[in-house]
Amino acid sequence: MISNDFKIDFINKRVYYREDGSGKIYTVRELYSYLQETFAELKNMHYEIPIKAESFTKYTMINDWTIDEKARKYLKDGTLVVSSIVTEH
């Protein structure tokens, strides 16, 4: 389950992969969906959305959100732009 592996640091606007995560690799789309559902919860409405989709395979971290370099290794099937860095998965 992606929520057990990918975690959200709301304070520092950072998405990271748990050190003791399952090691499972997810599609960027699955990460996108997970983040959108999480940020649509009432308790998280005051946080800015971290990601937007431009297509099924191209996504961008927005609003100054970042994702750890390590976490990106657990993503596949898509392009995730973080600031000016483009990471192919």
């Binding site: 789309r29 996108y32 959108q36 649509a40 409405m45 959305i49 099924f56």
Partner: protein
């Protein structure tokens, strides 16, 4: 029946004969011959007096002896006419004058005011300078004004024994005509009655009401019996040179004054600057007075009266000409900060006093050219409230134009009613109404401190409270009872009104569509208690201050003295000040509130103070608290691309845009049948950010939505269309 007009002036002399008249002691030689009675060209009564001399050069003043009279603060009304303006110099050379004197007959201690001259008086009917003609003019002078010319010993204004007029002659008539030159007629004064002077009008019926035209007709009766000099009429407008009273407390019949579509101006003659203009309504218990200006029918106000103060134009000072009472050659200069200086003439004699406005031009430095407010005037220096002047040496090419705001007061006393519809009041220094009055669709501007006292005020516009003298306003309205506002003052606006409302009684007030903008404070709570404002129907009161009304000694301290002024410590706002009224061996036993202060956050009792000769005193202040309740709705309606309400699963959040990050939301809820709503206590327009997110697992998902908006006095409502997110995993 038409209105009945009576004068409240006292006759000085009708000038129907030369009896009692003599040349004043400042008359130049005896070149003017005798004072002559003239019957053909009189203004009032059976005759007037004149002097005639086609060749004389110099000043002539003519005075009549009177029983000693106190003219302090009085206004003199004097009729004069100069047949050939060619013979008369400009105002600055004392073309026409009003004179008073005291001491041995005919008054060796005299003072004169310059009131007319070839440059500012008369109707220029002639085609050449020699044939310029003028007519009768009633010149009024406020006896408190400084003299333009005075004997070595000024007259004692409390015991004036000679009153008269004067003129100056420049030389012979170029055509050699033996023209009659200078005439004068009836002279009156107003008994120092202030608003009680001028004219009183009574009677009138619904079918035949009293009107402004009745006042004019009485003043300008064809028989020439009256000629009060109070009411003039030009280009269709009435010009008033004195106060008007409608009805009396002793009247034996009702007074009904009704008029519409009239313009009434307070005369801006150069000779006036005091605040005695006004309209007063009086009535008797069994015979009330009803005044109606404009019409009100089917809830529509129309055809109102405009009562306007154009302001008193002061003598223009051009460096090269010196001014009204100085024809010489001078210069105008500025000193860094707030001083404008002249080298010739006298600012005060030219009418420049605290409260007047000046417009300067011709200075090299741009900062010295502009509009400024005078706070003090001496013979040579004007001090202005602005501090932006730059030092510039004197030059004769500069000009100062002055204007003195005219003030008039409106007083509605007991047993009288004013109904004003679609009317405009400009320059009203004070307005006192009562619970039977109604102001509907009126515009009140350039004014101060109206006390409604329960009057109905609906759909009116109040703007520009004038804080400078002579109006010296602080508030638009002074509210002394909770019943003065609720259901009484409605649908009205208060713009640029300094302090819009002063509330002196604690309680709850309903503001129904009362809107405020540009005021330092919308409300000043001077009640000493709790004031709650419930705003409805788009009302937007937002700013308030609380004022101190009393102070009790908690600790008297040591070393204080009576009259010490103490400044309260604490709170947010303008600090209150207390004046020590009694002490016992340096210990304060009582104080009074000398400055009420204005607090947006009240100081906490007991308060300490600074100032005075001692230390250690503390006080418990009586100071009000103010609560503004203005619930408006925030409503967010969410639909899908097909226009259908999205149901119950969209999450809606509304935040102040300035504080989203702290998570304090104004609205945070799931939609119910596509709608999320809440209430908000509106105080000021509030920038907001709206977010809508709908990503519930297993349901249709949508792209998140965010937009900004503003909560106004009417609340906030928006409809959000969500776009399906086909990328997100189902």
């Amino acid at each position: 029946m038409a209105g009945t007009v009576t004068s409240n002036l006292t006759l000085v002399d009708a000038a129907d004969a030369i009896t009692g008249w003599a040349f004043g002691t400042d008359t130049t030689a005896s070149v003017f011959g005798a004072i002559i009675t003239e019957t053909l060209l009189r203004k009032q009564g059976s005759a007037c007096n004149k002097i005639q001399s086609p060749t004389a050069v110099g000043n002539a003043s003519m005075v009549v002896q009177v029983t000693a009279v106190d003219l302090t603060g009085a206004t003199l009304y004097c009729w004069m006419s100069f047949n050939s303006l060619y013979l008369m110099p400009n105002l600055s050379s004392s073309g026409m004058r009003i004179t008073i004197a005291s001491g041995a007959s005919p008054g060796v201690n005299w003072g004169e005011w310059y009131v007319g001259g070839r440059d500012v008086y008369g109707n220029f009917l002639g085609t050449t300078a020699a044939t310029k003609q003028a007519g009768w003019t009633c010149f009024a002078i406020d006896c408190n004004r400084p003299f333009d010319a005075v004997a070595a010993t000024a007259p004692t204004k409390t015991a004036i024994t000679a009153i008269g007029i004067g003129a100056a002659f420049t030389g012979s008539d170029p055509s050699g005509n033996a023209l009659d030159a200078f005439y004068w007629d009836v002279i009156r004064h107003d008994n120092r009655l202030g608003l009680g002077g001028g004219l009183t009008i009574t009677n009138g019926t619904t079918a035949s009401p009293a009107t402004f035209q009745d006042l004019y007709n009485a003043d300008n009766d064809s028989a020439g019996t009256n000629a009060y000099g109070i009411v003039k009429k030009a280009v269709g407008a009435f010009a008033l040179q004195g106060p008007i009273t409608i009805g009396t407390t002793a009247q034996a019949a009702v007074t009904t004054f009704t008029d519409s579509s009239q313009i009434v101006l307070w005369d801006d003659a150069q000779v006036r600057n005091s605040g005695i203009y006004g309209i007063t309504l009086n009535g008797a218990a069994s015979f009330p007075t009803t005044v109606t200006w404009g019409q009100f029918s089917s809830n529509v106000a129309s055809k109102g009266i405009s009562i306007l103060s154009p302001g008193n134009s002061l003598y223009t000072i051009i460096g090269a000409s010196g001014g009204k009472n100085a024809a010489g050659y001078g210069s105008l200069s500025t000193t860094a900060g707030s001083t404008i200086t002249r080298t010739v003439g006298d600012w005060t004699k030219d009418g420049y006093v605290a409260g007047a406005l000046v417009t300067t031009s011709g200075f090299t430095t741009a900062a010295n050219n502009g509009i400024f407010h005078i706070t003090a005037a001496t013979a040579t220096a004007l001090t202005i409230s602005e501090t932006t002047l730059v030092t510039e040496a004197g030059a004769t090419t500069r000009t100062v134009n002055g204007i003195m705001p005219l003030r008039w007061d409106l007083v509605v006393n007991a047993n009288s009613t004013l109904n004003a519809y679609s009317s405009t009041f400009n320059g009203m220094g004070r307005g006192t109404l009562n619970s039977t009055c109604a102001l509907r669709s009126c515009t009140i501007t350039n004014f101060g401190d109206i006390t409604p006292a329960g009057a109905t005020i609906d759909n009116c516009k109040f703007s520009d409270v004038n804080t400078f003298v002579p109006i010296s306003g602080t508030y638009a309205l002074v509210i002394n009872a909770t019943t003065d506002v609720t259901s009484k003052i409605t649908n009205s606006s208060f713009t640029n009104c300094n302090r819009a409302m002063k509330i002196t009684t604690a309680g709850s007030y309903t503001f129904s569509n009362l809107t405020f903008s540009g005021n330092t404070f919308d409300i000043v709570n001077a009640s000493g208690g709790a004031v709650t404002i419930n705003a409805t129907s788009g009302a937007n009161p937002a700013t308030f201050a609380n004022a101190v009304t009393a102070a009790a000694v908690v600790a008297g301290g040591t070393g204080y003295a009576a009259t010490n002024v103490l400044t309260v410590v604490g709170g947010t706002g303008t600090a209150a000040q207390l004046t020590v009224t009694t002490v016992s061996a340096g210990v304060i036993t009582a104080v009074s509130v000398s400055t009420a202060g204005e607090y947006t956050v009240n100081p906490t009792n007991p308060v300490s103070v600074t100032g005075g000769a001692g230390t250690g005193a503390t006080f418990n202040l009586t100071i009000g608290t103010t609560t503004i309740n203005n619930a408006v709705n925030i409503t967010v309606t969410v639909i899908d691309e097909a226009g259908a309400l999205v149901g119950n699963t969209a999450r809606v959040a509304v935040y102040r845009s300035s504080s989203i990050a702290d998570g304090t939301e104004l609205l945070l809820a799931n939609t119910v049948s596509g709608v999320a709503t809440t209430t908000f206590n509106y105080l000021v327009d509030t920038a907001i950010t709206v977010r809508v997110r709908m990503e519930s697992p297993g349901a249709t998902k949508y792209f998140p939505y965010q937009a900004t908006g503003t909560i106004t006095s009417t609340g906030f409502s928006t409809t959000v269309t969500l776009i399906k997110d086909l990328i997100v995993a189902p």
